[in-house]
Symmetry: C2
Subunit: 874 residues, 2 copies
């Protein structure tokens, strides 16, 4: 028979997977001889079994629970369900990873109408007994029976109002007894059956409720966001109650062994006398800072401090602890590695190294790469944020907090910004012409568009907060207002956007600047020391390249040339090229673009101080560059001096049923080699120019969307002929590299052949994910939500690289690429290049570098260090 229940004395901290975090640590503290109330843990395997059995708690699990309970009765000298001296227990969930959204806690379980009297008599404290019982009824009703606790709070509030008091502690035993009676009546009304009086039934129902809560919608969402597998399940901890609500010498509190906000090495926390757990957080009575306990009860304080120190040394990390004082005696109810701000994480990690407790590598691992985001972007003032209520939610498209006055055009954004005003640019969607307005804005809010929309991509590059695709808002750009849920926000209205969460607020919320401390530099230094992967950046202009270079980027992994095509008067030249009927006219239009492209590359090469820059050739289908309404087409026709019909025919000819699978990428370079010729000339001439100024650039030319080596061979001939001619013209020596994106499944499948021509591979995992899964990111929204709801998918393959499918293609391509060309250089430049989980995969798959947006560079550096510390490369 499997063992599904472990006494605290039987476990330890290494059994986290089986006992959950809370259970394993309770066991560990028990083993350390700390004052932990006796109890036991029902394992995560029991939870898995519960689901496998069709949501039934197996009899053998029930039997083991009661057997363990018997042992605890013996340890505590009390009997569960006893009328005179009842053993009461708490029931708490505890998964492998801490999981908000699941059922938390039921206290005082085991009480009923009879034993509450016994408890009153035994403790000679009827107030305490009824207070415990009313808490139990309310918690049980809430978390086990899903009865809204407002039903019970209303009864409490009514009594307090009647009596003219404010605090629960001002209610006496009789008040509470009366409240209990009303609670029981209300419970029976709502459930259609009386409150369960059998403690065994209470216990089993509570255990099942914990298991059920593993599968509630909030837990599922949290798991998905945090990549926690559904299959893990949760454990349940059943522990003898100790009472912080026994009177003024009792209390309960929460404390950190160091300040989780700043990292300062002092005890930090708060406690509340004569209270049970939930009162501390409920906010009705104001808890005391933990330092106050030293005056209230020096002995307990000293003991607690000693325990905290011991736990920190033992776990070699800052601890977050829960404790209860029962009639002057300290009990430890939980310890875990404490959550902390990014700033505190840096300080604590570095201090612990200084204190000799941990190694540099351990310090690196102690800082979550994602947490650095908070250090790099403005945030909201937390207090101000708490008071604010979001008016809608969109996609968290570019992190950081923005607050400003709403404006609805790039022009106004520029004007107002020049006049010293802070603005948030609100648009249905942005277009390349908005670029200067976007630069002038604190943040960007769009009503349409996804994580790869123009607004999102550009904002991430600039580090400007952006909430994209807020579907509930209706933007009227002409009349200058937006509306959400019936409320109108006019030009000049103050709004705030949180690009890290997607929330939008209809008011000004104070922001706090990002502050990069010396600790940041120290930790990043260690990260660089221990990582194997190089980190490059995706940057399409000198501005973004400069930011990334300052953040430590070791080159540009992806420069999307088409992003430059939208700026200023270039778009006209592009359109001329598209409308051209023949090669000569196309070349004429391209000749206009050449000096601008060359200048861009010069700027980027310089911003990167001569590091490698990978330039991707024109990728999007040409219809992205032309207008689509009759009105705009007429305007274009006028500007170009061409008949409207000609423009319209061109635009219609460019229509595609599935543009993602259409005429784009290298297919453009093959059908219009003159485009590749112009781009080659720009790349090479720019490199020659800067190298004359003392830089030492080796440009890398990258061809997108290659699925067959013959495509690449064809383009290679075009590129090589032009590049060699330009170099010869200049009479200089210049090395350049030629490579390809691997972003079409067939490209990955035939990578061995492609490597005959490609000197490097860059995995474009956005497109590769779309084509491997067979769904387009723009359209998948319609069913992916349902997929999550039905647990068909547990995580977003565009956020975290799908290692099982897409990853298999990456591994195959890396392997066969190296078989053909042993020194082939491999990187990734999809959005996954900035995702720590995906970076770990890239490290293990043997890539040479990852490339990500500028503000993700530090995160990627740290994630790369994590990966190499966990899985060292030989």
């Amino acid at each position: 028979m499997s063992k599904f229940v472990y006494l605290f004395a039987e476990g330890n901290a290494t059994m986290r997977n089986l006992l959950g975090g809370k259970g394993a640590n309770l066991a560990e503290m028990t083993g350390l001889g700390l004052p932990v109330p006796h109890g036991f843990t029902v394992t995560t395997e029991a939870c898995t079994k519960y689901y496998d059995d069709g949501k039934v708690l197996a009899q053998e699990v029930v039997d083991q629970i009661f057997a363990a309970l018997k042992v605890v009765e013996g340890q505590q000298g009390k009997k569960f369900g006893d009328n005179a001296n009842p053993l009461l227990v708490s029931v708490r969930s505890g998964a492998r990873a801490s999981m908000p959204g699941m059922m938390d806690t039921i206290l005082n379980l085991g009480l009923n109408n009879v034993s509450v009297e016994g408890l009153a008599k035994l403790t000679n404290n009827p107030r305490f007994a009824y207070d415990s019982y009313r808490r139990f009824i309310q918690m049980f009703a809430d978390v086990v029976m899903e009865i809204d606790k407002a039903n019970f709070e209303a009864i409490m509030d009514a009594r307090k109002e009647e009596k003219g008091v404010k605090l629960d502690t001002e209610l006496d035993a009789d008040d509470l007894k009366g409240i209990v009676e009303k609670f029981l009546v209300r419970y029976a009304e709502l459930k259609g059956e009386p409150f369960p009086q059998d403690p065994n039934e209470q216990l089993i129902e509570a255990v099942k409720a914990v298991f059920r809560s593993w599968d509630n919608p909030r837990a599922n969402v949290y798991r998905r966001l945090n990549g926690i597998p559904y299959s893990w399940g949760t454990a349940v901890n059943v522990q003898s109650m100790v009472f912080g609500n026994m009177g003024p010498t009792s209390g309960t509190g929460v404390a950190f062994s160091r300040n989780p906000s700043t990292g300062e090495n002092v005890l930090y926390g708060e406690y509340l006398f004569n209270a049970q757990g939930e009162d501390v957080v409920a906010g009705i009575r104001t808890p005391q800072p933990i330092a106050h306990l030293e005056q209230d009860n020096p002995a307990v304080y000293a003991q607690f401090k000693e325990v905290a120190l011991k736990l920190e040394k033992h776990y070699r990390d800052m601890q977050d602890m829960e404790f209860t004082i029962e009639n002057g005696k300290l009990f430890m109810l939980q310890t875990r590695n404490g959550k902390r701000t990014a700033q505190a994480a840096l300080k604590i990690a570095i201090d612990l190294v200084k204190e000799g407790l941990i190694t540099e590598q351990e310090a690196v691992l102690m800082v979550e790469p994602k947490s650095l985001d908070a250090l790099l972007h403005k945030g909201f003032d937390q207090k101000a944020l708490k008071a604010a209520k979001p008016i809608t939610k969109g996609l968290a498209a570019s992190p950081g907090a923005a607050c400003g006055q709403a404006v609805f055009s790039a022009e106004v954004a520029k004007e107002w910004n020049a006049a010293g005003k802070k603005v948030v640019l609100v648009r249905m969607e942005t277009s390349p012409e908005d670029i200067e307005g976007m630069i002038a804005s604190q943040g960007i809010l769009t009503g349409r568009g996804g994580m790869t929309s123009h607004a999102a991509v550009v904002a991430r590059g600039m580090g400007t907060p952006c909430v994209a695709g807020a579907g509930e808002i209706r933007v009227n750009e002409e009349e200058k207002y937006f509306e959400v849920n019936g409320v109108r926000y006019e030009e000049g209205a103050w709004i705030s956007c949180d690009g890290s969460t997607g929330y939008v607020y209809g008011e000004a919320i104070a922001t706090v600047d990002a502050e990069i401390s010396g600790d940041f530099a120290v930790l990043m230094g260690w990260a660089d020391k221990y990582r194997a992967l190089k980190v490059r950046t995706n940057a399409d202009n000198p501005r973004d390249a400069k930011v990334a270079n300052d953040f430590g980027a070791e080159g540009v992994g992806l420069c999307r040339t088409e992003h430059m095509f939208f700026e200023g008067d270039r778009i006209m030249a592009i359109r001329e090229m598209i409308v051209a009927d023949n090669v000569e006219d196309r070349k004429k239009a391209l000749a206009k673009l050449l000096p601008m492209q060359r200048q861009d590359f010069i700027g980027i090469y310089k911003a990167m101080e001569g590091k490698s820059v990978t330039v991707r050739y024109l990728d999007p289908p040409l219809h992205e560059f032309v207008p689509h309404t009759d009105e705009e087409m007429a305007e274009l026709a006028k500007e170009m001096g061409l008949p409207f019909e000609k423009i319209k025919a061109t635009v219609e000819g460019l229509h595609e049923f599935n543009p993602m699978l259409g005429h784009r990428g290298c297919r453009l370079s093959i059908t219009y080699p003159e485009i590749a010729e112009m781009q080659t000339r720009a790349v090479i001439e720019a490199a020659i120019a800067v190298n004359k100024e003392g830089y030492n650039v080796t440009p890398e030319i990258m061809i997108p969307l290659v699925g067959d080596v013959k495509e690449l061979k064809y383009v290679h001939e075009v590129v090589k002929a032009t590049a060699d001619a330009v170099i010869a013209e200049a009479g200089v020596n210049l090395e350049y590299k030629f490579g390809t994106m691997i972003e079409v499944p067939r490209g990955a499948l035939t990578a061995g052949e492609i490597a005959e021509v490609a000197e490097f591979f860059s995995f474009g995992t956005n497109d590769l994910t779309q084509m491997t899964f067979g769904f387009s990111r723009d359209d998948a929204g319609k069913f992916l939500e349902e997929y999550y709801a039905r647990k068909v998918f547990e995580s977003d393959p565009f956020a975290h690289l799908d290692q099982n499918g897409v990853g298999k293609l990456v591994e195959m391509a890396v392997k066969s690429g190296h078989e053909t060309r042993s020194d082939i250089h491999c990187g990734i430049c999809g959005e996954h290049g900035g995702d720590p989980e995906s970076i770990e995969f890239c490290h293990r798959a043997g890539l040479d570098y990852v490339s990500c947006s500028p503000f993700r560079v530090p995160i990627a550096r740290l994630a790369a260090a994590h990966a190499n510390i966990k899985f060292p490369r030989k």
Copy 2:
């Protein structure tokens, strides 16, 4: 040093790859002691080298050519370039496979202004000498210098008119001498330089011209259509001339050892006295049937007959031979396995078995699977066809010849057909409502749509000829005419369409019925005996299933349920379902479809006589079922009694950017499980119904577009719950199978996991090809033509399965599927299932069956036999 030139005496028939077909057979005939003029072959490797060297003929090749020529001079006792007794040669191309479109022949090479006189003197036949020279000038100018031969024909014609004669043979030596002079002048005018007088230069230029012709557009198109790799290159044969134009005892001819039209075992062919090769085909003088030679020259006839018999026995196949008689002496210039009609192929193969010359397996291999098409479909009368000129060309979407009066609506098609008229339905594109009109038509012609358009798919299923996507025609359905290149064809105009070539004719062309002989049954019997792959059919209705069953289909491999959804009043029920806001309304609409679907399945099960039927669940995105113009939407709103805005909002909500990568396939069953429930009920209830009548159907339920095992698990639960409930309701035993399409790259990559749930895989290679290559079939037309032109692609991956990329995924999936489930059943149901080349791949990849459209079933059976004879399965 490599050997690039082989004397005929040095080669043999096995050296086809190196010497080309013609060269290898000349060598073989030489070895057999047959009268073959001496000569040598420049190898295909020399051709490859020519291209590798940048279209330069290497000096070592030139040297070897002249060395070989020296040997031939010795054998012939003549000197190349000699003024008095010149050795003249022919230069002919000869690739591994016979390739129309390449340069064919230059005769009499080696003549110049001086040696022509020598030849005249030597032979005492100035007419012959000048005739030979004028032919040489014309051929050299045409094929080496690309001068239009019309230039020279005009000179010949002028002289004949002047003289008042009709035949070349009526011109005398002086006429021809004058013509030669004019030819030389015209040549110099057009080329800006005199006709080359150096025989060595003539020879080398001719060899290079052959090599160049390997890369001309016609050759490239032919190669692509026939799957011949560009890398093979061509050989060049240089052979001493013998002269059929030496006078009345000379001549030249072409003959087959059996009748290539009927297969009858008699010599078949024709010859022409006092002529060189091209005169036989030129059609100015009418050649004599070969039998006539027996009277003209019994000795030569007897010798030729003996040679033909010897060659047929030697090659164990019907031979196609060229010969020349020089002054009463027979010379063999070529032999090869003769091309033949499908009917002849059957008869010859079976006769050769009867004659003990070949085995049954060899007989099976002797019949090209594709050639069966001609037996199964009507064809045009070949003479009538020759006289006709196409007015345009579209896609050869469904094979066969159709002739009828143009009609522009399904209603008129039905009416006219009922009135005994033959009609061709001409539409911009067809839609499901046209189905009855399509059945009533001889053929279908559309202006828009590809190989998988509605018209194409339905026509192939019915075996009706169809030319689809004829982009040059403009159809005006309302005013009942179509226009092509300025010519209008009104309703009732006679037109003809060739669904095997895509040509459309603006006139009536007589058709000949398909005739399936007893030989067909014999050969198919042998094919079935030797094949390992099963052959199923893609059939969506009882009508198609019946046809396929008659053609020997062993089950339905793909029944596309959505094709039934369009017929009759079903489309309304589907639209009701789509418009429904909630599950209940959706279920109500689906309930209307259930009896119709059930009845369809009953019909199909019966048509297949109880063989396995694989039903694919709803696959296309829902927007394919709704109207898209405001007008149609308004009509629908009226019909449904719903506000127009509601319909419009629904339709707009269904819009997708990339429908191919959108909300379709299993994604529909996951978001709307009630659809899968209805379909399961229909499949199972239909099976129960027919099994009660004594059939023994095991239905196979197939889920499309699966990329992850969890998708399939989810749908499996829905299907299983319904199926088991229906079976239990009926109180019967019924087996059914549950499987999936593998058509998304990720499905193939994770097939091992998917096989945990799937009992069978069916490779949907249409979608798999699109997603693996990353291009949509609807859009790729824009660049694929350029790809072919630039030799980036040599064949259409939608016609022949891409073994290197898509095939790799298929092989991986078959392998990992079997690792999980050793008896997993694997098939293919994409269009490739009917392509012989792809069928060979499927055989080698270890699939269990292929599924193709009904009229392809015999082809697939034969191709499967070819595959297993060539690569026997253990």
